[in-house]
Symmetry: C2
Subunit: 371 residues, 2 copies
């Protein structure tokens, strides 16, 4: 195999391919990048068995062939080369020579015979959205997946399509994050659970441009994300997702509207006094036109008043401040509205047009202590 590519086009493709190279694995071949120059199109393929990426590389094939190279070393070499043409030659014994200007690297490659190619996903069930939208949907929900493996369903996100509505949901047992967007046309109903890890990597590959699109193809076990020169395939999580609609209610006894930045700054300050191990709740004391925020820990005490607009009953309720901040951070509105029922029932943050819904469970507090 003989190929010539500019250092920058190699690096551009590698930045995508590296997303599916595991940092630790017992299978050597997964740490490799497959350079596929067997046709007229040069491709890099990586696959960590959860996520597989195939991306087209700009360059010139002088002699066809296939080789698997240790991805990390290859990436480091390309990264450190000057910005000029790079020539990669692999001989019949898979000795690989990489030259650029006066620098010459010799490393060994492998045949790639044992490499796992991407699973085939039929291209019949799909939706197309902008890369910006998908990147935002992931960012605005990914924080409330569960890291632990106690329940595999919680480590992924529900992507649910009902005619022209896409709903993305994540939950970890303490909170639910939901984002809803309208699609440009009607699609068939779909319901898949995509691993959170795949979505994190995918969001790093997405350009974030509104005028670039991504198409998602669904099969029973996989989802394929198709970009202009790149295909990303992720396995799906098996099982029936939680019945979200049963957990969501629109009833409330207290409704408060508050400036998001003031609220966040205050939560931020209250968190100073909480050590990770302590799990002290942030107390919210809601009365007419004013919310008193209170934090009491072994380190000290903080309180602060915030102006609000209130409808309904007064309430004294406690929350894990981090859960509130996680949700507020990804809401783009200047003012947010929080709906509460009682000190033991979940509260929810949602907008009028129904584009987001964040549910947070309160922490049990001694009502008398703060009355």
């Amino acid at each position: 195999m003989k190929i010539i590519c500019s250092r920058n086009s190699l690096l551009k493709s590698l930045n995508i391919s590296m997303r599916a190279v595991p940092s630790h694995t017992t299978m050597d071949i997964l740490e490799c990048i497959l350079i596929d120059a067997s046709s007229n199109i040069l491709k890099f393929i990586t696959n960590d068995m959860d996520l597989g990426i195939e991306t087209i590389v700009e360059g010139h094939i002088e002699e066809k062939g296939i080789a698997a190279i240790d991805a990390k070393i290859f990436y480091e070499i390309i990264r450190k080369l000057p910005d000029n043409d790079v020539r990669i030659v692999v001989d019949e014994n898979f000795n690989t020579t990489i030259t650029c200007e006066k620098a010459r690297f010799q490393i060994s490659a492998r045949s790639g015979e044992d490499f796992s190619y991407l699973p085939i996903v039929d291209r019949d069930r799909c939706i197309t959205i902008s890369q910006f939208t998908l990147k935002e949907l992931i960012r605005q929900t990914i924080f409330s997946i569960s890291a632990g493996d106690s329940n595999p369903l919680m480590t992924g996100e529900l992507f649910e399509i009902r005619s022209n509505i896409l709903r993305v949901v994540s939950l970890d047992g303490h909170r639910i994050s939901m984002r809803i967007i309208h699609l440009e046309k009607d699609y068939e109903n779909e319901k898949v659970i995509i691993p959170g890890k795949s979505l994190v990597e995918m969001s790093k590959i997405l350009s974030g441009e509104i005028d670039e699109t991504v198409t998602l193809y669904f099969s029973d076990n996989h989802v394929l994300f198709e970009l202009e020169n790149t295909m990303v395939v992720s396995r799906l999580i098996e099982g029936e997702y939680f019945r979200i609609d049963q957990m969501i209610s629109n009833e409330y006894d207290t409704k408060i509207t508050v400036n998001k930045k003031d609220f966040m700054d205050c939560i931020d300050r209250s968190s100073l006094l909480v050590r990770e191990s302590e799990k002290k709740p942030l107390i919210m004391r809601v009365s007419d036109d004013q919310m008193d925020l209170l934090m009491d820990s072994s380190m000290g005490r903080m309180n602060e008043e915030i102006d609000i607009v209130k409808e309904g009953k007064d309430i004294l309720i406690g929350f894990n401040p981090r859960y509130f901040n996680d949700a507020l951070r990804v809401i783009n509105d200047e003012e947010i509205t929080v709906f509460m029922v009682n000190p033991k029932a979940p509260c929810f943050i949602k907008d009028e047009k129904g584009s987001y819904f964040y549910l947070i469970l309160p922490v049990n507090i001694n009502q008398n202590q703060y009355a």
Copy 2:
């Protein structure tokens, strides 16, 4: 005690004071910052027993007093406050209230009776240089102190004054770094060893401005750095420093001049193939007008030619590439000159005007293998 300061002036002073707060200690009081409002000047004092800092804080004292507050919590609180006036009130039981706009923190302070004030350093033996110069001197030598405690002398830097010359030296057994500057006037001879850790912290406090000065006062056990509003006192390392002049020679058999950036890029690339544990040498094969750099490791092989100007004999010599890069990184010249004697003798990099001198010991290599 009652004081009022702007949040930004508190933060500015804290950023200096925090440099002498240890991250781990068994003595609680060292984790505190002493707020000294006992006179008309408001001061913050911190002291980790190696390094002590006293800095003047801009602000208004309403009621005099002294209190010691947990430095980390205090710093975090101030950092998260809005940019406005901050009022700090400590009552007779050392309950401390910090208020800013509507935010109110209550934490406990201590009397500070057991606080260690800064040692007194007589102001008779001193030199004055620009903050920029001191910052540069530290940056250009600090990398070759020894981290280990095998020999305490190696964990510090020699500051040696001989009439109008200041020489700063560090060494770790594999290399020596030396910087020489001319002072504006003649001073008495001094020879002190300042702990590397103190210099690292000091260089973060220095502004890096040419027109701001720092005065160093020397006593038998301490050095005092005096800036406009800040005093930093460091203990000195006891003992007789190594006899540097005996280690330095000006004789050579090979002299090469090379473009610094080309040389560094090439060393950088060769280091890719070296795992931390392997310690593979970088081979330099010097012949007329050309130097061949070669790296051979379990991961692969790299070689590259660089143009040089050579005087004297050909040579084949091996080095730890990191030691070379560390020195080249802090030399501001575009071209550098390396002097070599033989494959087992130290090489040195120095400039004509004698402002720097870097000595590096070679690694033993099998001459036949690379001949």
